[in-house]
Symmetry: C2
Subunit: 656 residues, 2 copies
């Protein structure tokens, strides 16, 4: 490097990642570096203070006005005079690594679609007439080496004003849909724009819409919130919404309008709460299942309700956010929809795959996102498979006699003493177990109102371990189980968890019908996983990951006892939290990640459970608790699984 080269220039020539918005004008301070002085045996050089030029007037003025931390220099002003060691602090790196805060803490490399560039645009010249736009793109070319930048058409109307307000110096937000694509100017500000750009990572669930506001500089989530998906008023689950679209002309458009309106409100609220100007929120990544995805795009979901479950489009989508009706965002804001895997396996599952990265795992991972429809991924670095399985709504507390949504007052955890057959439990909103002192007072306000999804799973598994339930799923009578909590109900029995009737509350029981509903759901889930294992040619997996908000609340031990998932040591079952949301956030922060998920989705082998004859076979065997034929040896090692049989009056009833 010739003596006198500015550090920023040297970094660019060497391909060192050093940020800059102002392009070396000494005003944005993004290129701060930390020179290190002393002997560096590792590099074989001595780095002396005189190796960098003294502060010039630009740097001094910046330090005086805005402050510069001790030891820091502006990379665009400090010139290299001789050998020197220079550190680039993470905040000066454009493509810094960001450590995810969730359990496994894999790093995310920042590679956002947006960047800021300050440009000085030539003023108009009567003798060489040209357009403001053409002079702006020419300035991007000569000052930043950016070829072929285009302006988002709606911005053209404000271009003249912005250029003149900034006295021909403007900050452009450039958006690329890929590293190769020529950038689009997504926003323009007069003068230098300080601070960060932001984006939204959005997980569009059938029940809940969750959005995370993310700094596109640090990759951090600055605010998150969720709202109920207003489409619920057209149908609780996906199939009822598809039916609504089928039965009502204009019904799909109604649902599109509803979800878009809810999104706009949600995004505005989050931005306002975080104190982030919406004008800086210029990118959005979106995930959702195929029906949610199609409805958001304004596509009729009817085809998704019947074989062959044809998607209108399955590829990732780059489009202006305004084309999704996201009027809460600036007109130039862009959106990225992750690709869909299959007619039942959506962009949410693709996002889970991106986040959990089975394709980078040496171990064989089974990833299960439990909902009304469970999405299942199985794979390792050699191959990844995917399917969905129609578990139905039982895991969400629906079709369960005492079932309810997860809300304060719902029993979320439950234990049954194998000797006394007495239950104890915890409810949402209270940290205490029901047999601990102060529980009654602590729950007086919420009451004890029912069983949510995790509660019912634990209740059934605990009943099985306490010998109240046989492997076939039959509840024993009071006599057979030796507890007065078992109450006859017609020709079956129900286990009493809590009688709130004396205080005007509900009587919470687990009925034989509840057990049957849970058996159907868990058998479907297991059968889907098992089908993928067949396709992979294995009969065990190394790890199980429970994804999704609900997955985070499922007790691995109880899931194993119930036989929801294949048998593994309990420590090998982990929760990935909202992996779909995390995947959306990774895609928001990184173009490379977008390419990765697109390539991964193309590579995934899709298995359609509906047409696989073996699915039915697996389903039947998986109806038993934990399973009719699989030994579940790992689970039995730590969990007592007594084998009573309450079969006496069983067979006839089961056939009904």
């Amino acid at each position: 490097m010739p003596a006198g080269t500015p550090v920023l220039g040297a970094a660019r020539q060497l391909g060192v990642d050093l940020d800059s918005v102002c392009g070396g004008r000494g005003i944005c301070s993004r290129c701060q570096v930390a020179p290190a002085f002393g002997q560096f045996a590792k590099h074989g050089i001595t780095s002396a203070e005189v190796a960098l030029s003294d502060w010039n007037i630009v740097e001094a003025r910046y330090a005086e006005k805005r402050g510069l931390a001790p030891g820091r220099r502006l990379g665009c002003q400090a010139r290299i005079l001789s050998d020197v060691v220079i550190d680039v602090p993470p905040e000066s790196q454009l493509h810094r690594q960001v450590i995810r805060k969730d359990a496994d803490a894999r790093p995310v490399e920042m590679d956002p679609a947006l960047r800021l560039c300050l440009v000085e645009v030539a003023p108009p010249d009567m003798q060489a007439p040209s357009g403001d736009l053409e002079r702006l793109t020419e300035a991007l070319r000569t000052q930043w080496g950016i070829e072929g930048a285009t302006l988002e058409p709606p911005l053209l109307a404000t271009l003249q004003k912005t250029l003149r307000e900034g006295n021909w110096t403007v900050t452009a937000a450039l958006h690329r849909s890929s590293a190769e694509a020529p950038p689009r100017i997504a926003a323009l500000w007069p003068g230098l724009l300080e601070g960060d750009l932001h984006g939204f990572a959005i997980d569009l669930g059938s029940t809940t819409i969750a959005a995370h506001l993310v700094s596109l500089r640090s990759g951090e989530v600055v605010a998150s919130a969720g709202v109920m998906n207003p489409q619920i008023r057209f149908g609780e689950d996906l199939m009822s919404r598809v039916s609504y679209a089928m039965m009502n002309p204009g019904g799909a458009a109604e649902m599109t309008a509803a979800v878009r309106a809810a999104l706009n409100t949600l995004l505005q609220e989050i931005a306002a709460r975080a104190g982030v100007q919406t004008s800086r929120i210029l990118d959005v990544s979106l995930v959702g299942n195929p029906v949610m995805h199609h409805l958001l795009l304004g596509l009729d979901p009817v085809e998704l309700g019947q074989a062959p479950f044809a998607l209108a489009t399955c590829s990732s989508q780059n489009l202006p956010a305004r084309d999704l009706g996201l009027g809460a965002l600036p007109v130039g804001a862009q959106a990225y929809l992750l690709p869909l895997i299959a007619g039942h396996v959506g962009a949410d599952a693709a996002a889970v795959a991106l986040s959990e990265a089975p394709d980078r795992s040496d171990e064989l991972m089974l990833i299960v996102d439990v909902g009304t429809n469970a999405e299942i991924l199985l794979g390792n670095r050699h191959r990844v498979l995917a399917c969905s399985s129609p578990t139905g709504p039982a895991f969400e507390g629906a079709q369960i006699s005492s079932g309810q949504r997860a809300a304060p007052g719902a029993i979320e955890s439950l234990r049954i003493d194998p000797e006394t057959k007495e239950p104890r439990f915890r409810v949402i909103g209270c940290g205490l177990w029901s047999d601990e002192p102060g529980f009654a007072e602590a729950t007086a306000r919420s009451g004890i109102t029912g069983l949510c999804g995790s509660g019912i799973i634990e209740a059934v598994a605990e009943m099985r371990m306490a010998g109240l339930l046989d492997a076939g799923g039959l509840i024993g009578s009071a006599q057979q189980t030796d507890t007065p909590r078992m109450r006859p109900e017609g020709r079956t029995h129900a286990y009493l968890i809590h009688d709130g009737s004396t205080s005007g509350g509900p009587v919470i029981t687990v009925t034989q019908a509840d057990i049957r509903a849970i058996q159907l759901a868990k058998a479907a889930l297991y059968a889907g996983a098992r089908l993928l294992m067949d396709e992979m040619g294995v009969d065990k997996v190394d790890r199980v990951v429970l994804a999704g908000a609900f997955g985070a609340h499922i007790s691995p031990r109880h899931a194993l006892v119930l036989g929801m998932i294949p048998d593994v040591p309990v420590a090998r079952v982990t929760s990935a939290g909202n992996a779909a949301g995390t995947g959306a956030r990774i895609a928001l922060c990184s173009l490379a990640a977008r390419r990765r998920v697109e390539a991964l989705v193309r590579k995934i082998t899709k298995v359609e459970t509906a047409i696989e004859p073996r699915f039915q076979e697996h389903f039947v065997a998986a109806s038993a608790i934990p399973h009719a034929s699989a030994p579940f040896a790992e689970t039995r090692r730590t969990a007592p699984l007594p084998e009573p049989s309450f079969n006496a009056e069983g067979p006839r009833r089961r056939r009904r």
Copy 2:
């Protein structure tokens, strides 16, 4: 070519231009060929009837159902068995040459942005899930070799329905913005679409909006119409519209809405009248001056009203027609706006340059588009220059005492007998001269109402030739000119053309103020042309072309006598009619022409009259009729130009 190759396949391999929409399925008939049989010494072969395969069932069925002219074969069905001579009739050529019907009959090569392709799309497959869109683009790739086709986003919502209606066979209209750009699917129809696609070539004038509906197959204009530009209610001329935008918040948006609404109505009317479904009108080319161009795009024109006359954008624009508010056209329709040359020299001038092609001329051409603002081009194949000159509205009959728009009753032509000084004239709507029998009856209905632009030009030139007006522009008195038609008016004189007062009509005269207004206008026009000649380093031109609707009505002889244009033999002054509209039509029909006009506009040397000191000098000299210093020898050779001087009382008055 191996024996058995279909003619269509052979044409493709040889790069012969042979159309096909159905891709060789024998149903579209676009690939009809005419085999020629006999000895062809030129080609050194004998072409026998057995050189082509017999009719197969597909061809026979087509001929039976739809008819096939004698001697014609379907190129996709007839197979080549041995040497054969085959003619491709023009209607089977995609890139056929179309002879323009106007005076100079230059051919236009068809190279439209749109083409039709029939594709058979794979139906959805549960076992290999993919999107309808992805299967459609895959079919275009495998069946037509078209890579990277994208679908116009609003069409995605109808894609599923169209594919199923067509039972997975659809016709796609593919639009390319350039030969290299991947095409966009602009429209889709179930099954095979028969017939042609169409486009509109639109000339957006300050006064009139003209649109031509053009077949994109034949290049022919199937219908044309014009409407008054409704922006006139915001201001008659460009500058008053710019002022309206400056003085009224939202004024520019009002004018944008007005012109878009008028366009939609006009396009719908033309399509309806021509019996062309709007669903087939998928491309639009637009030209207009910079203010019209900016207002159409929704851009504030205020900068165009003051130096340095900065354009918001000067490049050609490719954008969806819906982004111009053209809701009358299908959602997938595309628009092309020709590039602008400078702040005063718009896309209309660029279209004139494309149509008149000075850059392909050996002769030095001066092309003048006369309007409130005259656009002037000067050039030959070595160099082209452009400027605009502020002629004002006098040539359009405004600011003229008896002036009026060109409408029935307006005097459009006029002759003055040099002996008797008596005028005779013709009015619009009547073919007779005023001294011919039957004139009074023929004009009884319209009346004789005033002088339109061409009338005033002829009147002034005739007055000059009849010795009623001196070279300085002064009208002589009755005594000086020896005619009672000369009437005193204050201290000046006016020449009476027609006294309609006895029958309740107007008295039509040419006043001294009228002469002054025409002098200002013609001097500005001449000075602009002369400035370009200076820049080119010449003092004469080879040809003068009068462009524009008004230009078509100007008498070359009178224009020369008046000194509007530089002196050339009168036969070298021609009219190009609506050259801007013709240029728009050429651009509509040909991507190559779009590239040509873009390259030409970049190459044109722009001269800004407002900042050229010599403009004022040229303007003063050009105020004389025909000119103070230029000899106008060619004009004097055929036109009498007596040299009276009515100067006696002149100088004082002139200084007022």
